[in-house]
């Protein structure tokens, strides 16, 4: 199981993208949720922590690198959509 050149670009892109992907969720999701800021931020963090490893898995899971990048973007969008129903907590 060599540290082959085939996987290296994926690893680098995954390493570069995974955390910013989580950060995007943690930054923007609270603005979409109508609840007190600490609560909405926690909900965003719950999603963001899932997004980071999922992005890595997605980039490695697709056959082509471009497919992986597109899928990673889809993961971020899906996470935000899934997290939105948590807005049902509502404002206090």
């Amino acid at each position: 199981m060599a540290f082959s050149s085939y996987y290296l670009p994926r690893l680098l892109i995954a390493a570069l993208l995974a955390y910013p992907a989580g950060l995007v969720v943690a930054t923007f999701l609270p603005h979409l949720l109508h609840m007190p800021r600490p609560d909405s931020f926690f909900v965003a963090q719950v999603g963001a922590v899932i997004v980071v490893p999922t992005t890595v898995l997605t980039i490695f899971g697709t056959r082509s690198l471009w497919g992986g990048l597109l899928a990673a973007v889809a993961v971020i969008a899906a996470t935000m959509l899934i997290a939105l129903p948590l807005a049902a907590f509502g404002p206090q």
């Binding site: 926690f42 490893p53 999922t54 899971g61």
Partner: protein
Amino acid sequence: MTTPHKQSVPSLRMRMGWLHAWIGFIAGLLLVCIFVTGTMSVFDTELTHWMQPETPYAQPGIPSAEALDKAAAAVTAQEGKKNRIFLSLPSDRDPLLHVTYMDHDVFKSETFHPQTGQNVPLRETVGGLFFFSFHYTLYMGRMFGVIFVQVLAVGMLATLGSGVIIHLKALLPNLVAFRPQSSSPRPWIDAHVIAAVLFLPFMFMIAYTGVLIHANRFFPNTAIERPNRGGPGRNGHHQMPSLPPLAPLLTDAAETFGADRLGFIQFSPKTVTVVRADNTKIGISRDHIDYDRVTGERIELVSKNSPAARTSQFLSGLHMARWAPVPMRWFYFISGCAGYVMFATGLVMFLIKRRRTATQKNSLPMEIAEGLALGTVLGMPLACAGVLWMNRLLPAGLPTRVTIEGSTLFVLWGALTVHALGRAFGRKVMKGWIEQSSLLSLLLCLLPVLDLATRWKWIAGQDQTVYAAVDLTAVVLGLIALRLSVVLKRKTGATASLSGPSFSKEIVS
């Protein structure tokens, strides 16, 4: 797994296999240590009890007014010098009254008998909290260390995810397949998969909640205004008003939380805060009542009850298991051991497979990897056992004993890693495994002897449960280490005729 051909695209299983192997190995080298110390932290209070063999028997309950006055005097004496001071109230797990403060990243405490108020002269020790602190900071600082551990936990989540994809088709059959007599690496794979699959929900839960507990460090929320915590009192460099009598405060708090549900008291320049105990429900709510520091009047009950806050409390509580009764703690302990087995066998499998496919059989990176794997898989448990031994061997009154105890972990760990690297460079890494597992079994199996020999003068009138549990657990783990060393010796003997005593050749057989 071979390097893919230029024209062909590796299958999903191969791609995930590569990710699983490399991320798992790199993160696993430290995650093994995090699991060892985390598993020990499940019983951190009990370990502290074991490390203070002078601990007398005491009934848990609300401490007497006399005891609280003496503790308050100790708090006053420490205020102005230390950053954070709190007064731990008696509980079922720890029936004594402790004034605890942070001194250069190490918890220190003065202890009082909860009924008589007498100062209990316990030896200074790093205690179980030392392993707890290492578990989530690696002693690299409360900011960088925590974030580093979080990154490793995210790596664990990616490794678990890729592992599930690799084994998805045979997840259930793998559960019942353990073939120790098969040729290697089958037994290693079986042990790895059984430990991972059987405890898969625990593994996901512990990694995910581990990141979420300190999520504010991983994903900082800069938009939130920081609360005013009472001016410069937190760093303790100004005059603090004298404390009110604490007994009426506890009586009042007990009416709200319950007499057996009081956790600890915190002090600030303006308030005295009684915090609800963490063991009353799964969620670590930290509900608390603030009292005026001068008059002792109740100011407010602070409780976060929003669904998001309750979810956060629940996830933290699920990770820390402070709510858990004894059987559930043992379940956490066993699950932690399974995590250790999963990572240890994973590291070994990585090295075996890499040895088989490596073009250069004895390359420097390979030898470094073998040395580091041994230095963490057996080196860290050995270093932890060394801390327990040092705790009992050092004179009880030695002023620097806390520093020496704490340093023992790192010095021993470093020395064992150097030993492991030495064996790896000398192409005798299997000998290193046998030596370290033998030493581990020796240290653990003799721990009860050490315990009895150094606790003899206080043994009468003590509750023996904690000591017996720690000693018996050590013996069981020591026997497992002994079995490992015996098996490895036998395997080495059987393959002595093979040329080039490489790690793979020795372990493969």
